[in-house]
């Protein structure tokens, strides 16, 4: 395996980690105004992700930095091409980033209610736009021979990418609901389970729409064949099993299944892309690939060594942080935020 392929895999791993972890943060944020009926309950909901959301967001920053380092042309084309969409996403992420801290710093209900909606939109917008962005990589964007994006904002919005955005919102909400059920006790847990059951059919429906559009508007099935293998199937099975475990009240397993469904979906997307990074809708020859968009071999080698040394540490101490905050929260718990 060459270094370009290795970095394609590593970036796939970073995005998988990002969607798995921030997926439930976004989901919890989107559910916050609906599942928390009073301030105390909303604080419980925020506190379930309070200690970890920032560390989870670093998965996105690392993925972005790794793209810049390993595939600078891809980073440059995508980020300048999706300029307005990314501006919207950044505005949302900035607001979300301060809202957890700021919300807790004043008792007035107007202040807190305002920040609750900031958290809601600050979670909804990135979830939607990440779904749109990842889908567009496979769908294809107008990219010319010089690797320049020649479209505008509306070229980012096509049936497939919009379905991807909505599917991301639905699946992350489901993931957030199973996470909340796992991390809380009492009424909030009951409400989260009920919400998960309601969201589940929507998520399944969105996934079906997404797969149909993948078959009709992308080259996924023509390249992979109609039996694309065990990974996409596992994503579907995991999503179906979510409902089974929700019915049994086994939210721990339900959470594992929403997580696996996200992980396998992201892997499927990356497998469908390989060895391309961004499909050109103008001419397949102009697609950005892991070879024409990459850094020098020397840089890839340096970054490989650095990643192999550092990633294990990150995994260990992030796991440790989750272990410390493993207990369920209730309205009677000591809360920080």
């Amino acid at each position: 395996m060459d270094l370009n392929t290795l970095w394609f895999i590593l970036i796939g791993v970073l995005f998988t980690g990002f969607f798995f972890l921030e997926g439930f943060d976004y989901g919890v944020g989107m559910l916050l105004p609906f599942l928390g009926h009073d301030d105390r309950e909303r604080r419980v909901i925020i506190n379930t992700i309070g200690p970890v959301w920032d560390g989870n967001e670093v998965w996105m920053l690392t993925a972005g930095g790794a793209l810049f380092a390993a595939f600078p042309h891809f980073y440059a084309t995508l980020f300048s091409g999706a300029y307005l969409a990314l501006t919207l996403m950044l505005l949302a992420l900035i607001v979300r980033g301060v809202s957890f801290e700021f919300r807790s710093k004043d008792l007035s209900s107007r202040w807190r209610n305002g920040w609750d909606w900031a958290i809601f939109f600050g979670s909804l917008v990135p979830a939607l736009l990440w779904g749109v962005a990842m889908s567009n990589l496979l769908h294809g964007l107008p990219v010319n021979a010089a690797m320049d994006y020649t479209g505008d904002f509306f070229d980012l919005l096509n049936p497939f990418s919009l379905a991807g955005g909505l599917a991301a919102v639905a699946v992350f909400s489901l993931h957030g609901a199973t996470f909340l059920a796992l991390k809380t006790a009492g009424e909030i847990r009951e409400r989260s389970l009920a919400a998960a059951k309601k969201i589940w059919p929507v998520a399944v429906l969105m996934l079906i729409v997404y797969v149909i559009l993948a078959a009709t508007t992308t080259d996924f099935f023509t390249r992979m064949g109609y039996d694309p293998g065990v990974v996409p199937l596992a994503a579907v099975v995991a999503l179906i099993l979510v409902r089974y475990f929700l019915g049994n009240g086994k939210e721990g397993w339900a959470f594992v299944m929403t997580a696996l469904s996200i992980v396998f979906s992201v892997i499927t997307l990356f497998v469908g892309l390989f060895p391309r990074l961004l499909v050109s809708s103008l001419n397949p020859e102009w697609s950005l690939t892991i070879y024409n968009a990459s850094s020098s071999q020397y840089t890839l080698k340096v970054m490989t060594i650095v990643a192999l040394i550092l990633v294990p540490f990150v995994l260990v101490y992030q796991a440790w942080a989750y272990w410390i905050f493993r207990k369920r929260l209730t309205v009677d718990s000591e809360l920080e935020y």
Partner: protein, 456 residues
């Protein structure tokens, strides 16, 4: 305005704004770690109250730094795509390492620190704060490694129209990095020191409860801030001498030195005509600039006009003179603020040691207002170092005009510029409001009212 001007304006605004919050995070994280270590080793609860009070302000500031930091990583690809293609090898790698090594560390352990007071032992809790401090300061090191390349390219080869990395260790051992990072670290220590000393002075002036803690905080802040200021001046001097060698144009602009001189005089005050590149009115100290550059009163310092000719021969026709007035004044404001801090810090330290500080309301008020001086110095310092590198984005390798995104129109940049600026304006109001509220609230006997928000 064209897309390039708008993109530059946006970069300036979001970056200077981001750097309002960064130095306090860098400096205060270390100071909090020291305070908490003192709490653990002494077992004295008043140190815990001290950590909690300053920790609250730290967290409000930290949130702003993190939120505005996301833009920093995305904007290179968004607004400077040609730069990103050209520099991916060299700029992307440190950025990725910064995330992998530093961002994970500071964010994960800060989460544990905020929520872990009762979940882990005090000793481990203090260690966690040290890890946050190390993580934050490592992130500064890596991003400055990237910036240092833009000031002084090393360890690369021009291939395939890109600056490709050939020597990772050359980038890490770049001489510029090792004057720049100490400078930034020392100014972060200064920022935190004056922040702590300033707010403590205010409480001592108002006669707030727990004067014992504020008296101690004041002394710690003053000493910490003074160490930082002294270091910043010493390192700054070394950095300036280094810049005379690697970017003489930057220093010539800082000093508004039009013609090469030997010995070179230093401008005390200049009103210049930037278009015709000459002085209208100037007071100069003979030989002082040579001394600044070489530690002796003779030696050639190159002037702007001579360097312009030299660069035309070296890089081809073009304008290689940065905006002189901006360079000259930002440099002077930065240096002036630094020496003012040194003076105020020394006065306060003397008064504090003699026990007379609290008898001098005037000095106490001065020390409160002095907390803004580091912010002025930090901002003007960055504006100077980036503006006085113009027209280069990467010195000698790529011009700013060649680095901007070629596919993003002026309308798009105007939209992002306006929305970011508006959002930032709103957020700074909230940020200052909350900082003021919690700084004023002081320390009450009740253990931790603010954390649960019962203070409004």
């Amino acid at each position: 305005m064209d897309a390039l001007t708008l993109a530059r304006l946006q970069f300036g605004i979001v970056t200077v704004y981001h750097f309002f919050f960064v130095p306090l995070t860098l400096g205060l994280s270390v100071l909090l770690a020291i305070m908490e270590t003192k709490y653990v080793t002494s077992g004295d609860e008043s140190y815990k109250a001290m950590v909690k009070f300053w920790g609250k302000l730290f967290l409000i500031n930290f949130a702003m730094g993190v939120a505005t930091g996301i833009v920093q990583e995305f904007q290179f690809g968004m607004n400077w795509s040609q730069y990103s293609r050209f520099m991916g090898d060299i700029f992307g790698a440190p950025l990725a390492i910064e995330a992998l090594l530093a961002f994970y560390m500071e964010s994960t352990f800060l989460g544990v620190w905020i929520f872990g007071w009762d979940k882990i032992s005090p000793r481990l809790h203090a260690t966690v704060m040290w890890l946050v401090a190390i993580g934050s300061n490592l992130s500064a090191l890596w991003i400055l490694a990237a910036n240092s390349f833009m000031q002084q390219p090393v360890g690369y080869a021009l291939r395939n129209g890109r600056a490709e990395m050939t020597d990772f260790f050359a980038i890490l051992t770049n001489g510029h990095l090792w004057v720049q990072w100490p400078h930034v670290f020392a100014s972060a220590v200064t920022t935190a020191g004056f922040f702590v000393a300033g707010i403590s002075a205010w409480h001592l002036l108002k006669g707030s409860p727990r004067a014992d803690i504020f008296r101690r905080s004041f002394r710690w802040g003053t000493v910490y801030g003074l160490i930082g200021t002294a270091a910043v001046i010493l390192v700054g001097h070394a950095q300036a001498q280094y810049m005379f060698k690697i970017q003489p144009m930057k220093m010539a602009a800082a000093e508004a030195l039009w013609q090469t001189e030997n010995p070179a005089g230093m401008s005390l005050f200049t009103i210049g005509n930037e278009k015709e590149r000459r002085d209208v009115f100037a007071i100069r100290i003979p030989g002082a600039l040579s001394f600044l550059a070489y530690n002796r009163f003779s030696g050639e310092v190159k002037g702007i006009n001579n360097l312009q000719e030299e660069y035309v021969q070296k890089y081809g026709p073009g304008e290689y003179v940065p905006p002189v007035a901006i360079s000259y004044w930002t440099f002077r404001i930065m240096v002036g603020a630094g020496f003012l801090m040194l003076l105020l810090g020394l006065l306060s330290l003397r008064a504090s040691m003699k026990g007379t500080f609290e008898e001098s309301p005037r000095l106490m008020r001065w020390m409160f207002w002095a907390l803004f001086l580091p912010y002025i110095a930090n901002s003007t310092g960055w504006i100077f170092t980036e503006m006085a590198r113009q027209p280069w984005i990467v010195f000698g390798l790529q011009k700013v005009a060649d680095g901007v995104s070629n596919t993003v129109g002026a309308g798009s940049v105007a939209f992002s510029l306006i929305t970011f600026t508006l959002l930032y304006a709103i957020l700074i109001v909230f940020d200052v409001k909350l900082l003021t509220k919690y700084a004023k609230a002081g320390i009450t006997e009740a253990a931790e009212p603010a954390a649960t928000g019962e203070m409004a």
